[in-house]
Amino acid sequence: MATPASPASTIFRRPRQTSGWMSWITTVDHKKIGIMYGYSAFIFFILGGLEALILRLQLAGPDGTVLDAAEYNAMFTMHGTTMVFLFVMPVGAAFFNYLLPLMIGARDVAFPRMNALSFWIFIFGGIFLYSSFLFGTTGPPSGGNLPGGATDASWLGSTINGGWFMYQPNAGPRFSTGTVLDYGAIGLQILGLASLISAVNFIATILNMRAKGMKLLRMPVFIWMTLVVAFLLLFSLPIIAVALFMVTFDRQLGTLFFDTFQGGDAVLWQHLFWLFGHPEVYILILPAMGIVSETLPVFSRKPLFGYPAVVFAGAAIGFLGFGVWAHHMFSSGITPVAQAAFGLATMTIAVPTGIKIFNWLGTMWMGKIKFTTPMLFSLGFVALFVIGGLSGVTHSIVPADWQQTDTYYIVAHFHYVLFGGAIFGIFAGLYYWFPKLTGRMMSEKLGKLHFWLMFIGMNLTFGPMHWLGLQGMVRRTWKYPAEYNFGTWNMVVTVGAFIIASSILVFMLNWTKSKRRGVEAGMDPWDARTIEWSIPNPTPEWNFGVNPDVHSLDDWWHRKYDEDEDGRPVRRPDADSTIAQFHDQGVNPPAPIHLPTPSYFPFFAGASFLAVGYGVIYHTRGWGLPLLIFGVVLLLSSLIGWSLEPLEEEHEEVHA
């Protein structure tokens, strides 16, 4: 199918494999990269889920004996870090990668090799973090003992253990003597770099690569949310990068940023962390909001109610998201003025969120709703996100927040927005775009079973945490005595967690079965609205056979439907022939199409970060410094080799 262009002079010949493992390592195709992001994020989802199940076994009854305190610390830290940085963020990147060019009518993202680089840095960053299980040491906790007077935790406890926010000075060199928090700080730094690169890439793509006629206010809401997320990443990641550098320097070079004994500042860490951390929660939720803004109109057979309002509300959430970070710190002793200001700002952010909720409800109002699996997940998203959002607003009332801080009420709140919100949205998207990936439909029967198991399990797991928290069960506690009477609800929570786990098994079964034997999707199986459905399923290698020409919002829908005088959709008589025509030109492009050529360099540049990471941690050992230098040299030479790859060879002709 692909014929090589004439080889130009270069250091290496560019790779040409179109199948086999080499084609995946060298690929710059946004679709393949998206799929790799998706599968690897899902593996981390399983790991993070297993960690949660271990936590729940420990807490199922009073005085749990499954874990010791050090192991519990490690498990909840890894669970949180995995779910945030290694599952929800990369799975968002998976959706962005796969869909962004398809939804704006582009051949690929603006910088295909940089896109591959983001992916490889993410993968090696994740491997680096998880390698702390093997290589990390904890040392004895300060003021505490490990069982049997051991100097190091068990392997299960020997991984990052300072909480996902690594509060200082607890995570500093004085109180955490082992290497595990070096793995944490450097691992997150590597992962942050991956996200920063993709943010630059996505912004350039959205602003500059839109198809003819795809004005900003004709873009699907999902693309708008991608844009907002990319800007949030762009402005918040450098802050956490600085903060993580400071921790790393404290631990490796003896700087005193967070050493409160010698003039360091523990609250500064909280400010820097949450200046990143609060935008981060919108980074996690906005992709899901984008997904349901696509699915709800399709399955209600109505346009999105108040499209500009939804877009502007999303942008407003992005702006306000930078002004509310201190509501995570009401109990840290910030001044009353700051508390009042951040409390007010936090209430304000509920306004654009409320606008979105009402627009989604307005979309469904009087619609002809089809209760397909993606629609069920979208409805689940709206319902559960409202619960989580409302409990979130209660945190803006400062005195109430003092009571709730560090209790299970907080755990309940953020799981309603992140599990009930983000993860339900993600599953809605997976079911909705599965035909785009594979050309087949997922089983509705298994899908609905998955939904109901997950919906019930989710509420059993996180609902009772509200009242456990208000009764005073503190967060991050590794056991509780029987006389507190927390046992019953904790058992319910644990049962709920295993119901969620079973629902994930159903999903995996559905996915693998449907991928091979699902019903053929054909063109446009959902009768959808946006232009990614105007091309055949699965997506051809070249995306669009003919560059799209966009005339309106929901362009694909308006090619199929007119409106009668009451505004009801009427299928145009030529709709079927339009679909057939788009199918033909998608399968047989009338003109040759150029695609970006694969490259080795992103993989090597990504891999160099492993060497850099271990080199920094072990720089005092004989082999550490050489490894660090090797990593830097590998990175630099990859980047230079990359920049010398001639662009003329970049494009490979594909003849259909």
Partner: protein
């Protein structure tokens, strides 16, 4: 640094060249990075009562003024290189690129000298007090940015010798390196003013 996926239908929705747009976007992120580092220093510089000396006590303003001037001049030579390539004058492009890289290296040598005197003669190490930690971290990261810039400039010079000419079509192109270089200079003006000059 970049490769653009479209070619026969090169149209940029915003009218700005895509690689340049991406560089602007990236630099906006860098402003947050240095903003956080500078804020750090401002926070810690007033914290006295720990181990002396503090950075503000031992700054050598005349020396740093000279090295700041050197870095500012490198922006001028960078502009001249940019100007030359637009006239397709390959010889002067190369000359001005080399000049820019040399000025950058002089600045780095000055910083190395400054750090050495601070550590060896004055006894202010990165671990002496938080203000010193913040100072070395901020200026160290700036120096690293200059170093990356010098490497990119030298790579351009290398390409120009190997191929005989620089084209704007290569991934690493002069305009983007120039944008980056000017950014690094502007940040230094802020650092020099806020950290060194304002008491």
């Amino acid at each position: 640094m970049s490769d653009v996926a479209h070619e026969e239908h090169v149209h940029e929705s915003t009218g700005v060249e895509t690689r340049k747009l991406a560089m602007w976007v990236f630099l906006s992120s860098e402003f947050m990075f240095f903003g956080a580092l500078i804020t750090n220093y401002l926070l810690f510089k007033g914290r006295v009562g720990y181990t002396a000396p503090y950075p503000a006590e031992i700054f050598d303003i005349p020396f740093t003024s000279v090295s700041s001037f050197v870095l500012l001049m490198s922006s001028l030579t960078m502009v001249l290189a940019d100007h030359a390539i637009h006239r397709d004058d390959q010889r002067s492009t190369r000359t001005w690129l080399i000049a820019t890289a040399l000025l950058g290296m002089v600045f780095l040598a000055g910083q190395a000298y400054e750090f050495t005197t601070f550590v060896v003669d004055e006894g202010m190490k990165i671990s002496t007090n938080p203000a010193a930690s913040a100072f070395f971290t901020l200026t160290g990261f700036h120096g690293t940015h200059v170093l990356v810039g010098v490497i990119m400039l030298l790579t351009l010079v290398g390409i120009s010798f190997r191929k005989g000419r620089l084209s704007t079509a290569t991934g690493l192109n002069l305009e983007n390196v120039a944008l980056y270089w000017h950014f690094v200079d502007i940040i230094w003006i802020v650092i020099f003013t806020v950290v060194y000059l304002i008491k």
